[in-house]
């Protein structure tokens, strides 16, 4: 397996990862800050023998993804918040019809037109999303150009294993930043056989791709089967990373760009005597709740740090389950805090009266 090291922009690394992961079809639409994705795919996916089409809207694009996925292709689309909002019905149909695909959100400031700066204000849209009804995409949050590449490269396999859309949640900084990247080459595993795909009923009974279950009890059975899929994904696909003090008084939960900032902030805080540990979810759904609960049980406090008014913090509170007080460091609207702002917050949080003393004993 060849390994080549290059300097690449996040959005493009994601594209190359998808291509190396066997992507055959890309349908997209321009929106800042992800325009490099359709532009790269229009050249490189075609060069790799795949199909690129700029659709007339984000809605058309997700429906093209639906059609191609139904026909057995490895199809994907990308957008930012406003376009992902448009795609929600399509995502729900993909989930309901049990189709695999990759959807990428390079998040910008919102709500509404917002701005084109990086934010984490689409956490709810991603993890509570997948449109209407019971059903969620599997959500990944890369925090580096390498992770954008690796997660995209593996995404179709995960998506096909569960017959469920996979969503990659990036942001405007990750998409634009350039970092060294190890290109791992095309995946060796062939695409699995898709015995459900509609390819023309030659020599076999006809197949139907459908999300309509008009009898409520049948739809209940189907929804329970979806829940079972997600429980299995929780056991097999969940991923996270930790960094910092071994016996933390403060557990910080952050993902993506905010996790990178918090890593620096944690280093500073430890230097100033605060025993802080960062838990960085890599899968946002399924969320590493059990591990967070474990860490929270022995900590004095948990801090959710995110570039939003408070969305990740809900999952943090659910997971912590009252074992420790949960605080929020939230910067919404497209503002990126500095590591110094975050470390100051961490240090003052730990020295405040609301946190039980204990750092000196450690």
């Amino acid at each position: 397996m060849s390994v080549e090291k290059v300097l690449m922009k996040g959005n493009e690394a994601l594209c190359q990862g998808a291509i190396d992961g066997g992507c055959t079809h890309f349908f997209g639409y321009p929106i800042t800050p992800q325009n490099e994705i359709p532009e790269y795919m229009s050249v490189h996916l075609r060069a790799a023998g795949g199909v690129f089409l700029q659709a007339e809207s984000e809605i058309a694009a997700i429906n093209m993804v639906f059609g191609a996925a139904a026909a057995g292709a490895r199809s994907m689309t990308s957008s930012s918040g406003p376009g992902i909002a448009l795609k929600q019905e399509g995502l729900s149909y993909l989930i309901g019809a049990e189709l695999p695909c990759l959807v990428v959100n390079i998040v910008r400031g919102g709500p509404g037109l917002g701005n084109i700066a990086a934010s984490q204000q689409d956490y709810f849209l991603a993890t509570r999303g997948g449109g209407h009804g019971d059903g969620r995409p599997l959500v990944y949050a890369p925090a580096s150009v390498q992770e954008l590449y690796d997660i995209a490269r593996n995404a179709f396999g995960v998506s096909e294993r569960y017959r469920n859309p996979v969503m990659i949640l990036g942001d405007g900084i990750l998409g634009q930043m350039m970092e060294p990247l190890e290109l791992r080459g095309p995946l060796q595993e062939p695409m699995p056989e898709k015995s459900w795909a509609v390819t023309g009923a030659k020599g076999r009974p006809r197949r139907v791709i459908n999300s309509l279950h008009i009898v409520p009890s049948e739809n209940e059975t189907f929804c329970r089967r979806l829940a079972q899929k997600y429980a299995e994904a929780g056991e097999k696909e969940m991923a996270w990373e930790e960094f910092g003090a071994d016996a933390p008084e403060l557990v910080i939960v952050a993902y993506g760009t905010m996790a990178r900032i918090c890593r620096s902030a944690v280093t500073t805080a430890i230097h100033e005597g605060v025993q802080a540990r960062l838990l960085r979810p890599i899968t946002l759904f399924p969320f590493p709740s059990a591990r967070l609960a474990e860490l929270a049980a022995d900590a004095n406090a948990v801090l959710a740090a995110e570039m939003s008014s408070g969305q990740l913090v809900d999952d943090v509170r659910i997971a912590v389950g009252g074992r420790a007080p949960v605080d929020l460091y939230g910067r919404p609207g497209g503002v990126t805090p500095s590591p110094e702002e975050v470390s100051e917050y961490i240090v003052s949080l730990c020295r405040s009266k609301s946190v039980r003393a204990g750092s000196e004993a450690q």
């Binding site: 055959t24 058309a60 639906f66 059609g67 023309g200 009923a201 197949r207 459908n210």
Partner: protein, 251 residues
């Protein structure tokens, strides 16, 4: 005993879900007959919409996809761009094709996607019990224009064939009706030509079929067919707009 007429092979034996007197049944059969005559059943993928024909995936004996409202041409594009050698058709109502799906319709046509669109125009939203549609004609009463469509209040209808024939992607565009046997035979020929256009990679093909909706129009089935001929055909002239051999509109 000689069999002179039977269910087309491309239709399953699942009962239709339509109201008595609805012409969807005729149109489903014409599509199935075209599939049989061209011997393409094993490589056909049909896409059925939201609307009265949402359950049509039960009726055609080929691979089927149920798509979201208005988006069938985009779904068809995804299928055809994955499996170019297959025959892909959509079956859509007037709200699906000309309201929520206007962009998808126009763009699939202008890209010249080699798909076949069967457009069933009955001037109302049937499944949801009869609201105004983009093809409701002026003066026609519906549940959301109960005093009759007024261009001032409700805007003007859209003529799909005329609109799409201004584009360069289509290879065959025709409007037919199924209100009498002669028109049904014309419709059968048009639907065959549309599928043949796809087989010849001649570009986007669409057949608009003027259709009755006795339930939502509040008429007996035979009266509905008469109303169609007297009111819809003058507004939506029959004929071939793009391709074909010159059965020109209004002829």
């Amino acid at each position: 005993m000689e069999v002179v007429y039977e269910r087309p092979k491309a239709l399953t034996d699942a009962p239709f879900t339509y109201c008595p007197g609805c012409t969807h049944g005729i149109i489903h059969r014409l599509v199935a007959e075209a599939i049989d005559e061209l011997d393409i059943r094993e490589r056909t993928i049909g896409i059925c919409p939201v609307g009265c024909s949402v359950f049509a995936y039960q009726n055609w004996d080929c691979d089927m996809i149920q798509a979201s409202h208005g988006r069938a041409p985009a779904v068809a594009t995804g299928v055809k761009r994955s499996l170019p050698g297959r025959v892909v058709f959509t079956y859509q109502g007037d709200g699906d094709l000309l309201a929520i799906g206007t962009a998808e319709t126009i763009h699939a046509a202008t890209r010249g996607e080699n798909i076949t669109v069967i457009f069933v125009n009955n001037g109302v939203y049937g499944m949801t019990r009869g609201q105004i549609a983009p093809t409701t004609i002026p003066g026609q009463r519906t549940t959301t224009c109960p005093t009759g469509r007024s261009p001032d209040l409700d805007g003007n209808p859209i003529r799909a064939c005329e609109l799409l024939s201004s584009l360069e992607g289509p290879g065959y565009i025709a409007r037919v009706a199924v209100s009498r046997p002669r028109y049904v035979r014309q419709a059968r020929r048009a639907i065959l030509k549309a599928f043949q256009t796809q087989l010849d990679e001649g570009g986007f093909s669409l057949v608009e079929v003027l259709s009755s909706c006795p339930s939502c129009w509040g008429m007996a089935p035979a009266d509905a067919l008469e109303w169609l001929e007297q009111n819809m055909i003058p507004y939506y002239p029959l004929g071939e707009f793009v391709g074909g051999n010159g059965e020109k509109p209004g002829g």
